[in-house]
């Protein structure tokens, strides 16, 4: 180990101290009148701005939210037990902002930009304000490029585009975070050389954990590291034990960091997990600041809370670099009640939703997406030609199947056409099932959905469909990789290739059955 000589130490210290100028420090101060419950009321600070950061003693920061006649109401981003009445507080003259930069990738940070993964300081040059007005109409362009989630059900029928906002909504334990995580893991492909050749731009990911258990966030970090996804992901964590003000600003921190990447011409995906807890944290802060409560005790501006967050997701025009910010907010419903206050608010803001149902989940359909009521308002514009062609019939077939599902109990008492519809539908449901953490490439998805909708799998017994898929795709990867690559490159399923796949599938089924 190299030794640090004493004169080296002296030299460094001297350098640091000599560059230190003696000048008068000018700062504005106020006094704490009242402190408690994470809120402080301050006297003085006549020139303070709304949403400005204030420095309390003991390295605690706060943000000014209420500017009243004789006092200033401030939320604390830290432990309020060390703050006493009469303490002096200083203005930082900085509206709430966080450090942004490339160095944030691969790190776990808190909403103030401080690292909490124990891997040292993060060096950034820029500070960006947390609250920013979203872009106007002229600066945007329509969403055209697909954001592949790697889930057949989503990419086939509820496709997400880059720059869209798609809500993931469902009861607890239905797989909402799983859908978001699979999407993040699937973006690994976009950073490869192969993707570049196919004209697919890399997607950077930001996962914002609001009010979750610390152990859950740790599991997410571990899983992403395991799948090699942390290289292009940042995790912003405000767990349940963090003060409500930190949970309140966490999504805005995610959007701010995302905008940094978007404004430099790159594509970003931001997952807000979850906004129900965010609304609850904002309710806590508002009530403690004595703002009048509205419906369900939420403050009157809870809609604005989410709308200004989600409006920052956009696809920029080419003049501004053509970057995009895709948002995947997550909302937890209670007992499937999507007509409650917060869920209806966020549904009306986003460009579509993915409904996850506990019934489907429990009967083995995972991802437990209810295709009937899930929608993506961007739709076909965000699909490659090949997928659009094969998935066209998918929705219709499934809808017809669901209508007839109740009659399935009658079995052979039905006419041939109905039986065929039931068989096709049940096989399609099997095809759409997928295990966690194995997102599929778009070309494999196209192949599988093609086989499903054209009826090649109907002769297989239901419980063998998944096995068939696994082995067939493995065989294609091994012996006919060029076929898959052609689909990926051309982004469509030509007649030649579909004929090829059909014959291969026929062969494979024979060997499979035997």
């Amino acid at each position: 180990m190299a030794e640090v000589r004493p004169d080296e130490i002296t030299a460094v210290l001297r350098k640091q101290l000599s560059g230190f100028e003696k000048e008068i420090d000018i700062y504005d101060v106020g006094t704490v009148l009242q402190v408690g419950d994470g809120i402080a009321r301050l006297y003085g600070l006549s020139k303070v701005m709304a949403s400005e950061l204030i420095e309390f003693p003991h390295d605690v920061f706060g943000m000014v939210l209420n500017l009243e006649e004789d006092n200033v109401g401030c939320v604390l981003f830290g432990d309020d037990t060390k703050i006493k009445e009469g303490d002096t507080v200083k203005r930082t003259k900085r509206v709430a902002s966080m450090p942004v930069g490339e160095a944030m990738l691969g790190r776990v940070i808190n909403p103030l930009g401080q690292p909490i993964d124990g891997r040292g300081n993060i060096k950034t040059d820029k500070f960006s304000p947390l609250e920013r007005k979203a872009l106007g109409v002229i600066q945007r362009q329509p969403v055209k490029q697909p954001l592949q989630t790697g889930l057949k059900a989503v990419d086939g029928m509820i496709p997400i585009g880059r720059g869209q906002r798609e809500l993931i909504i469902g009861d607890r334990q239905t797989g909402k975070t799983a859908v978001a995580l699979d999407t993040i893991i699937n973006q690994k492909y976009t950073h490869s050389e192969k993707a570049k050749k196919e004209g697919v731009k890399p997607v950077y990911c930001i996962y914002v954990a609001i009010g979750q258990k610390g152990s859950t966030v740790a599991q997410v970090v571990t899983k992403l590291e395991e799948m090699g996804a942390m290289d292009y992901t940042t995790i912003i964590s405000a767990t349940a034990s963090d003060p409500a003000p930190l949970q309140f600003i966490a999504p805005y921190a995610g959007a701010t960091l995302g905008e940094f990447f978007r404004d430099s011409g790159r594509d970003v995906l931001v997952v807000y997990d979850d906004l129900s807890k965010h609304a609850a944290a904002y309710r806590q802060v508002s009530l403690l600041l004595r703002r009048p409560p509205g419906r369900e005790a939420y403050p009157g501006d809870v809609f604005y809370l989410h709308s200004r967050l989600l409006e920052r997701a956009s696809k920029l025009s080419d003049e501004l670099g053509g970057g995009s910010l895709t948002a995947l907010p997550i909302i937890e419903t209670q007992a499937g009640d999507v007509a409650a206050y917060i869920p209806t608010n966020v549904i009306s803001i986003t460009d579509g939703q993915i409904f996850l149902e506990p019934n489907l989940f429990n009967s083995g359909v995972r991802p437990a997406i209810n295709v009937g009521i899930s929608v993506s308002r961007v739709g076909g514009n965000a699909q490659i030609k090949g997928m659009k062609k094969v998935a066209g019939r998918l929705r219709l077939d499934l809808a017809q199947y669901r209508e007839l599902e109740a009659f399935a109990k009658f079995g052979s008492d039905l006419d041939k056409a109905t039986q065929q519809q039931l068989r096709r539908g049940s096989h399609l449901v099997e095809v759409l099932k997928q295990r966690q953490y194995v997102p599929m490439s778009i070309e494999s998805q196209v192949v599988m959905i093609f086989l499903g909708t054209s009826g090649f799998l109907d002769e297989l017994p239901l419980d063998q469909v998944q096995q068939f898929e696994k082995e067939f795709l493995a065989m294609l990867e091994l012996r006919h990789k060029d076929l898959l690559d052609t689909i990926a490159e051309k982004k469509e399923l030509t007649d030649e290739i579909s004929k090829n796949i059909q014959s291969m599938a026929k062969e494979f089924i024979e060997t499979f059955k035997g």
Partner: protein
């Protein structure tokens, strides 16, 4: 908090009264007399705060105390606030009044704390600098605070001008702690 608001409103009323009066300094002077008396006497403060003593008794006491010393306007004002049962915030009203008066006259009260005793030449120099900084007349009050280790701290309203050695040491400490020393 609501005391402060009420005090501010009464003080503004007093201010309006002062501006309209033929001799504003007289009213200000009377109010200063009252304020000094309150500051000096613990019994007077207790009297103001006490809810037990009746309004009439309080009015009689105030007349007896201040009749010969101050003008009719201020005495009437004290009677008015006793009627409204607001005599308990009289000290705050007076404090707010003098703040407003300072603002009106373009005077800024500056609280300067120094580490060592300043000579009168130094005091004059500092006062001049503060006047050019604030662009107003300053009323400086000097006091000693050895904890500053050197230099001075001047509080002008909300703004603090911190030229103390203690502050420089604090800044140095946080700079070294945050790894500035690793930059080359």
């Amino acid at each position: 908090m609501s005391n402060l608001r009420a005090a501010h409103r009464y003080a503004s009323a007093l201010m309006a009264l002062t501006l309209e009066a033929k001799k504003p300094e007289a009213i200000a002077g009377d109010l200063l007399t009252v304020q000094t008396a309150i500051k000096a006497s613990k019994e007077l403060r207790s009297l103001l705060a006490s809810p037990i003593i009746s309004k009439e008794k309080k009015k009689v006491i105030f007349s007896a105390l201040f009749e010969k010393k101050i003008g009719g306007d201020v005495l009437k004002f004290i009677d008015a606030i006793v009627d409204k049962r607001r005599e308990n915030i009289l000290p705050e009203i007076l404090a707010q009044y003098f703040l407003l008066r300072d603002e009106e006259l373009g005077v800024v009260a500056v609280d300067v704390r120094t580490a060592v005793e300043f000579s009168s030449a130094q005091e004059t120099r500092l006062t001049k600098q503060l006047e050019s900084y604030t662009q107003k007349k300053v009323r400086v009050s000097f006091s000693l605070d050895k904890m500053l280790k050197g230099g001075f701290v001047a509080k002008v309203g909300d703004t603090t001008l911190d030229g103390s050695v203690r502050r420089q040491l604090e800044k140095l400490r946080s700079r070294l702690k945050n790894g500035a020393a690793t930059k080359n």
